[in-house]
Symmetry: none
Amino acid sequence: MKILLVDDDHDLLAVTAFALQQAGFMVIKARDGASALDAFMREEPDLAILDINMPQMNGFELAKQIRQRSQTPLIMLTVRSEEEDVIRALGLGADDFLTKPFSPRILIARIRALLRRVGMETEGTISFDGLTLKVEDLSLEGLGDQPISLTPLEVRFLQLLFAHGGRTVSTERILSHVWGNRAGGNRQLLKQLVHRLRQKLEKDPTEPRLLKTVPHSGYLIDRDGLPG
Amino acid sequence: MKILLVDDDHDLLAVTAFALQQAGFMVIKARDGASALDAFMREEPDLAILDINMPQMNGFELAKQIRQRSQTPLIMLTVRSEEEDVIRALGLGADDFLTKPFSPRILIARIRALLRRVGMETEGTISFDGLTLKVEDLSLEGLGDQPISLTPLEVRFLQLLFAHGGRTVSTERILSHVWGNRAGGNRQLLKQLVHRLRQKLEKDPTEPRLLKTVPHSGYLIDRDGLPG
DNA sequence: TTCAAATGTCACCGGCATGTAACCGGGGCG
DNA sequence: CGCCCCGGTTACATGCCGGTGACATTTGAA
């Protein structure tokens, strides 16, 4: 999991980066808005943490620039705890906001919560209406007596559908989530993934009850399709 | 957008609920964990805000119970700002965490950010007089018992009519909205779209009650044509 | 290195959404 | 009366999308 960390305070940058690395994240560092945007484009991090007060380009502008390009989760930091700042940051598209000084453990907990919400968390489990997806075990429980073992791609796919709790997820979203930008809009990849997954999950893969297609839109996990 | 608000402090519950209603949310209130869980199952809110300190069942346990069933966005509240509480709450599946006292504006901003991240902030549905157009699902509910599935073009068309809530929309406007510039003023396209849509929506497509023609002008959705 | 699982690529099919053409009937109008 | 514009209707053509099976390639563990 790759995180872009942007702050002009050298010491804080170092100590926060260290904490994140301890927690198992790969950290890209930047010290001003311009180079941060550059690094963002080059490295394509899974999440970005931006300080608001910076030379060159401040955090607000940087957040705006990033949001124009991608939906990457954003957490913003500031020393000031002005109400206006928080509202402005969240309004610009930031997902969370922390006031300095903050505990590294809390930052990490919030990162995890955010990654979980976007379906990118690589630890723990996600449950949905009787089904439990064990991310680390690559398995899904709650269908038959036996847990069903999954492949890494299948887990990433189900994570996204679970995180959206029964609502339709568009094919574009799925493609970018499972394959990243590398996918190149290749729908064939998704067709195969769905096909293979249905062989495992559905009693009758011809008539899907759980993993349903919404034509010209996307896919969804359907609670009505569950036994009982 | 329906929000479940749970807090045992009567005054705070009232004032927060009021602020949320002002912001345009529908609020379900509960004052303890047990009845909150009950209300959650019954109302199926789009988001829940839980206080941690509560009689019967505390916020942690409530969050855990909810998370076993669904991925509904959760925001947790507490007076104590203990680091352990925050980490525990986020670890249990909460998406955000606020320490009392908090500004209602910030709560609302964080709600919006969360809904946006989950994809619920977008115009996912448009309602008009008992009819609900679900854009993501390409479906229309409120006519028969079953939702009616639509095509992408039909959704774009109905989006425009719904947005104009019962007023006539000119053919030119429809053409450019549904087909963009590519339409080239081709009336035939619209004729077909209307015809096919009436086959789905109208009981007697010969005698339209819902999707009416305004000769030499355009089309409109007619509330009088609705049952009941 | 070897082998099996996971993933990517190709080709094809069937169905449906959409586009296109032709025709019908009414009404305004000369 | 005869013309034509309009909206509705029927019929058919076309292309895209999703599903499927077969096969190639990559990856990872033994």
